[in-house]
Point group: C2
Chain length 663, copies 2
């Protein structure tokens, strides 16, 4: 049914492609464009070195508004014994940039001269004095920009391979050029294939997959300095795909064939490459993204006696795999074709917040969120799913677990290749703990204050544990103490002994049962979860993970009602967020789940309100008093923010910002 992939190491895959490109004389700058020297040259790569044609300045220029003089004639001038110079024989007015007249060798700034009229009277009024008086001598070449001060004709201004920045354009102009020779942009064809694919904007049916990989890949190619062409979707039809590849080959330097690179029934990519040229690689020991294909295809459909002449990359279908394939395999190729150095991501050492495991055979790229908490730079692993494009959006960097390693432990120091400048990471507020929809709104409002909110949902208790480990700036928590009926305080004392904290209320909110629209099973309370009867009458539940505040609330209430967990269908089916619970109900995976009203409304579900609870922000004092968090407190006071939260169903902002604890 399928030809299995054979994964080879990354470096070997890259060498095979390089060898094939050398063989085809394509391991070089592809071509040269001569373009005018204007702002559109920005970001282009010099194909040739720029040597200076002229010097700058090209004459001795006055560096000030003032008088050209001969230094020798100023000798002996003192504050108490001024020297007078006759105009125009001994001094001559120059604006900044004017050429030094022949015979003069220095400039005295106008503010260091006194203007005398014809009768040698000191005056402020006249613009063209007959004589000037000075009270200090000057050395030769003072306030003069000598010929070639900036650039001397023939010297190297910029080497080939340099990517042009604004100031470079000025230097090239100053060196006498009006045009520049830059590397031609590699033309990259992007071919999405798959019968299940639909273009963005399509009304979706189950099984439809939105085709946005070509969008991401085109943007990546553009960002790298290439010129992308997006082709329409081709269905899984071997002959149609071959035609499209041949078509794309006419006008492009590289073909990216998206999906069909795996080994399934409709994965044609490797066969297409074999038919049209040479298959070099099928499978690379890299995660995510291992079913990568590399090959060379010909421009002509008759391939007898023709050497393969265009590289083709079969890019895996999962969005994260696709994007990383472009980063890992295509970026160095485009760099080579432009003659620039490959992009090097800056690297920092960070502390891993939780254990990650890795299949030992692969180079494993793990997306992480990165932020500074106190003195520590932390790397928090994000979703590993190759289908989770938001993990790339949230990623601040990549941790590479090289093949041969089995993973890394929580607390281990790891090297992170950073996507964002360090300065930006230092403005990141790490919020970990219970999920609340208000956090999205906080993120939105904080962005206006030059702060970024990175939130991870690990439940209320998980948040307090993270605070204890120094792995977050604050935690959102709604933990009910069954003994006292109070929220959070007893848990904070238990989990954070000796830590000085500030606890402020964020919101009051309703918890209840999120149910299928119309509530067909007539659910009224938690009692219904264990109701007996025929399978069709019984109620299936979706739970929150252990440590979540909602889970604590559930267990507390079940205990009050004398309901045993084992009697509930789906008690062990866990989701990590309120919206996750709502989505499970919306999809029919469960009849109901305990959560907040806003989550139900978001997915057009019904909601049965049961309990009121308080959601607080727990902030260690050292962070509460830091500059980093100052804008957070401003947001809590912001009227627009409060109005936006109050508009969410089941939310009460009456106690927002109220101090619960301050140590």
């Amino acid at each position: 049914m399928s030809v299995y992939l054979h994964d080879i190491p990354l470096s070997q895959a890259q060498s095979r492609l390089e060898a094939a490109l050398r063989e085809a004389d394509l391991w070089r700058v592809l071509g040269i464009d001569t373009i005018p020297l204007d702002e559109n040259a920005l970001g282009r790569t010099l194909a040739e070195p720029v040597w200076a044609k002229t010097s700058s300045p090209h004459y001795h220029a006055s560096a000030m508004d003032g008088f050209a003089v001969r230094a020798a004639e100023t000798a002996g001038a003192l504050q108490t014994r001024p020297v007078s110079l006759q105009i125009p024989d001994q001094a001559c007015y120059l604006d900044t940039g004017d050429p030094l007249p022949s015979g003069f060798d220095s400039v005295i700034p106008i503010e260091n001269t006194e203007a005398l009229d014809e009768h040698s009277e000191l005056t402020d009024a006249i613009r063209d004095p007959a004589t000037i008086r000075i009270r200090a001598s000057v050395a030769p070449w003072t306030h003069v920009r000598p010929l070639g001060e900036d650039i001397v004709a023939t010297e190297l201004v910029l080497p080939a391979g340099h990517v042009l920045r604004p100031a470079d354009l000025g230097a090239i102009a100053a060196a006498g050029h009006t045009e520049i020779r830059v590397a031609r942009k590699p033309r990259v064809a992007i071919l999405p294939t798959g019968t299940e694919l639909v273009p963005i904007g399509t009304q979706l049916k189950p099984g439809d997959i939105l085709e946005y990989n070509s969008l991401v890949m085109a943007a990546q190619v553009k960002d790298m300095g290439g010129e992308p062409t997006r082709f329409p979707i081709t269905s899984d039809d071997f002959d149609r795909i071959c035609e499209r590849v041949q078509e794309a080959a006419q006008e492009h330097d590289l073909i990216l064939l998206n999906a069909g690179s795996s080994a399934g029934a409709e994965d044609f990519s490797s066969k297409v490459v074999e038919k049209l040229g040479t298959l070099l690689v099928h499978g690379v020991a890299v995660r995510p993204g291992h079913p990568v294909i590399m090959g060379m295809v010909t421009r002509e459909s008759k391939i007898e006696n023709r050497k393969p002449e265009i590289p083709i990359v079969g890019v895996p279908g999962y969005p994260v795999s696709a994007a990383l394939t472009i980063e890992i395999f295509v970026e160095p190729l485009i760099a080579k074709w432009l003659g620039r150095r490959p992009k090097v991501m800056p690297t920092e050492t960070a502390q891993l917040t939780r254990k990650i495991t890795s299949p030992g055979g692969d180079d494993d790229f793990v997306r992480v969120a990165v932020g500074r908490v106190g003195e520590k730079l932390l790397a928090a692993p994000l979703s590993r799913g190759a289908g989770v494009i938001t993990s790339l959006v949230r990623a601040d960097g990549l941790v590479l677990l090289p093949h041969g390693t089995q993973g890394a432990e929580a607390g281990e120091q790891v090297q992170v290749r950073l996507y964002r400048p360090r300065a930006e990471l230092d403005k990141t507020i790490f919020c970990i703990g219970s999920h609340d929809m208000t956090l999205d709104l906080i993120a939105q409002f904080l962005a206006g204050h030059d702060r970024r909110l990175a939130s991870a949902n690990v439940g209320s208790q998980g948040g307090l544990v993270a605070l204890r480990r120094g792995e977050a700036h604050l935690a959102g928590s709604h933990l009910l103490d069954p003994e006292t009926g109070e929220y959070n305080v007893s848990y904070i004392r238990q989990y954070l002994p000796g830590v000085k904290v500030k606890v402020v209320t964020l919101v009051g909110r309703e918890q209840g049962l999120i149910v299928t629209p119309g509530n067909p099973k007539g659910i009224r309370s938690l009692d219904d979860l264990s109701r007996p009867g025929a399978d069709s009458a019984r109620v299936s539940f979706v739970n929150r993970q252990r440590g979540a505040g909602t889970r604590v609330l559930l267990d507390y209430q079940l205990n009050q009602l004398g309901i045993v967990a084992d009697s509930i269908i789906g008690y062990n089916q866990e989701e990590y967020t309120h919206l996750g619970v709502a989505a499970a109900v919306a999809s029919g995976r469960a009849d109901c789940g305990l959560g907040i009203a806003a989550a139900a409304q978001a997915l057009n579900l019904d909601f049965i309100p049961l309990y009121q609870e308080r959601y607080d922000l727990v902030i260690p004092k050292e962070h509460a008093e830091s500059d980093l968090l100052t804008p957070l407190f401003a947001v809590l006071e912001n009227r627009e923010f409060r109005a936006a939260v109050a508009a969410l169903p089941g939310y009460d902002v009456g106690r927002m910002g109220t101090l619960v604890v301050e140590d």
Copy 2:
């Protein structure tokens, strides 16, 4: 004659502009463009938050090619006790991405199943088995991507103010959008003014100044996300400038009026702003760039009863001042108008290689080259001249000496705001010492090896001193020992006692007198430098700085000839490079100077060969053996490189790469 500037602190200038913009309701995102979600959205700034319209996946999807099953029906399957499942009632084949049929809750990858034909015989051949056999049970939801795994409808995908990257476009598409609302690009008019300005490409006369500031500023504005318009040059004519400003005001959000911002006779900018609106600032305590002007002007020529409504910045004329003015004043404004955070340059601590002084009253921005030598990150101050655009090209960062400080000492730790990523700086080879034109060629060839050569010209002895201080990877040196007639070795032992070095010869080269074309003064040898006679018959000289190898050679030869330095006109006139000496001769500042043939040829001067000398590279062993320098030795062996050097006049590559010393 002029109205003097009044410099105010940077923060005060910025507040004044901000207050005026708030007053005019312009301290906000200027407008919103709705654009299609395609690769051209890259780099645009979101004007509104993006909330998810749909979930992704929008159904439960198979994560593998395999069979949908009910987890409960797989219970009990073991390696030794397979379970059979009937198709289509108990199992159903799915490709990756297919929706899970109703009633199924898990997927078993095809490679973990055995296909059986109708008669329950195991077979590889059939594509549509009647039954499959499995040898392990699965838990519910295994290999399923549940609805909303990536994105749940209603959640925040990206906040307003976010600058779009490739993966963001994918996430926005996955969330159900086909268009996005981004901040309108601020339209920035750039008006170069000055009677002395000529466009690039003009045949230059003395006094002409190439107008390239508008090019640099346009590129900066574009880079920051604005939309620049370059206007033609306007001469220094008050009324014409007023007209142009009014014209630009019609269609733009910001006017940059270049030059005329000082206080000279033809500096009209402040008067133009006063006439057309309100002058807010004239002079900021920032170096370079202090004569900055800020104001607001109106769109209408009749200004009665109209409030000023367009900001205008009078940008100083010197290219470095102009570029830094845009960085310091215009970047934060464009950031505000786009709703993004201002650009933050990453900062590193580096050790200053030489003392810098600063006028205490200003925020002083010093351009520095940055590189790592051994364990130390070094910042080498570059030319401070505001006219030296190449200092911006060479700059790897800026050191800010805040007002109130008097400068910084050599060896002091300073904060550097970096223009380049740290990873790139770590690939920089610092070469300091004597200047040779070959170094430009080395820089060119090294660029192809992912290395950057930063060279500073401080003379041969200066280079050895820098090596002793650990401030460079290598030094170029051509120091003649008068006692032994040998080059470099005795100096290296004297300057670098106990340091293990590798010394290799770079080139042999001719030193001689660079003279005016046609040699009108009939110069033949050094004897002519002190020849007596009428002023017009005597010969003026331009010297190299103390410590330069050429200076050592000169002094040695003068001594041999019994010529006293005092008898030479211009002996104290010093230049730092061979080309500097040649430029001095070309400009008529001196009749001759001692230097190399290539420099004479570069500027079309005549050359009188006098001596042969050897130019070596001195490399401390720790650097010679480092990865960083490996490509340097490859370049010395490169045939193309040798041919390029041999083509320079007076150069001999016969001994290139020969080992002189290896400790």
